[in-house]
Symmetry: C2
Subunit: 237 residues, 2 copies
Amino acid sequence: MSTSAERLRSPQQRAERAVRILDVAADLLLRHGYRRVSIDDVAAGLGIGKGTVYLHWKTREQLFSAVFAREVLHAVDELRQALSQDPRACLLHNFARAYFLAIAKRPLLRGFLLDDPDLLGKLANSVDTARDDRHSAMARDYFGLLADHGILRDDLGVDEIGYAYQALFEGFLRAEGAAPASGQQQRADLLARTIERAFESESAIPETTLHDLAAATITLLGNLIDADRIASGLPEN
Amino acid sequence: MSTSAERLRSPQQRAERAVRILDVAADLLLRHGYRRVSIDDVAAGLGIGKGTVYLHWKTREQLFSAVFAREVLHAVDELRQALSQDPRACLLHNFARAYFLAIAKRPLLRGFLLDDPDLLGKLANSVDTARDDRHSAMARDYFGLLADHGILRDDLGVDEIGYAYQALFEGFLRAEGAAPASGQQQRADLLARTIERAFESESAIPETTLHDLAAATITLLGNLIDADRIASGLPEN
DNA sequence: ATATGACGAAATTAGAAAACGCGTCAACTA
DNA sequence: TAGTTGACGCGTTTTCTAATTTCGTCATAT
């Protein structure tokens, strides 16, 4: 199609092309849904050959998984940035609010958590169990940290809190599918205040403790992000 | 089929037959799923003619809706009984625990709330908006009562609490689909303790207030049950 | 070395035919 | 006459096959 197909030389350029492919794929995915987007469509959208797409991902499913993985990565990265700007963001209720907004704001992730089969197909049903494992391990570690630093109410076990937290969080996300658009910030705040009362201890947290916890949490998130990046073969971005 | 088909005379007998039809329909629904159960199957299960089933419900969909409606009725009635035995059951967290167990214990309702399309088909998507309206009106009234009696935390609006409560409750129900069987009681307790901390005020409730609230709530539930019975044409049972 | 699109294989869709099940009602029983 | 029934018409769903689309590969091209 393109009259002057230039050859790529550096890993640099290769990575940039991968990003551009993901951009187009994400756009098409959002506009037409999983089933109606073919690899040819994606390639055509960039004016490149279909074979070139296959130089980056072995299968169609892996390409679309990568789109999704990148979206998750962005959300988690947004979370990490919030944490590095304000140590108080490591408190569970602030953490939850930021994460909730980071997800709800991204149409592809919203579609996933409302498991819209048209938008993501079987991708919703954990194609990538490895990432799921990493993320739940991260959650466990994070709750462990919270407990160690005396953030959590002490009349409930850590895994009990983790279970209840997740149910609450997913309940809010799911509800977000029905009553969307305006008031999203208010609902995020409501989630935060509910979590604060439900799961956090009432005692004040010393400034130093907060810093320790924030640092440890940032490390945790950093490791998670790195692992996800490596697993999905994505560059920083 | 039956060699001596006796004629039904009283409304009594008619109602009994309706119940038997619902029993068989519920059983088949549970064993084979919505799509695989025909009206003929239900009729055959009772040894009666298909036309007889249509003397009770105008369509197949209405029959299966009635099965579901009766199940809801049983759950709500269980709730009402709990309330009339112990006034403390009207406190939000106890109310939620009892309701959670009443639902989780009933396979058909579980299937509905995990919106298993195989079990209930499009029935899940509110065939009966009227009942939904009645139930959410009841929920609003109940939360109004809780607020009036000083049960709820006062730094949150009633509808905010209602919203968060529902998200939490449905989050727990949904989670119940993944990790079932044993430990159901523990999860119900966890839900209760989470709700207590998240939504209820910390001040002690006087015995008399509790009784008032319990009585009012029982009335509310009674009205709801009556309205549901009339709407679905079911007898007490 | 890198990129491409034509190609065979596999999957999806389209359309026609068969089977099924809903809801009705004329016939039947007591 | 009041109550019950199952055969029947008809719309829906399923099944089967043919045609089309899309996948993923690889020989060719630059």
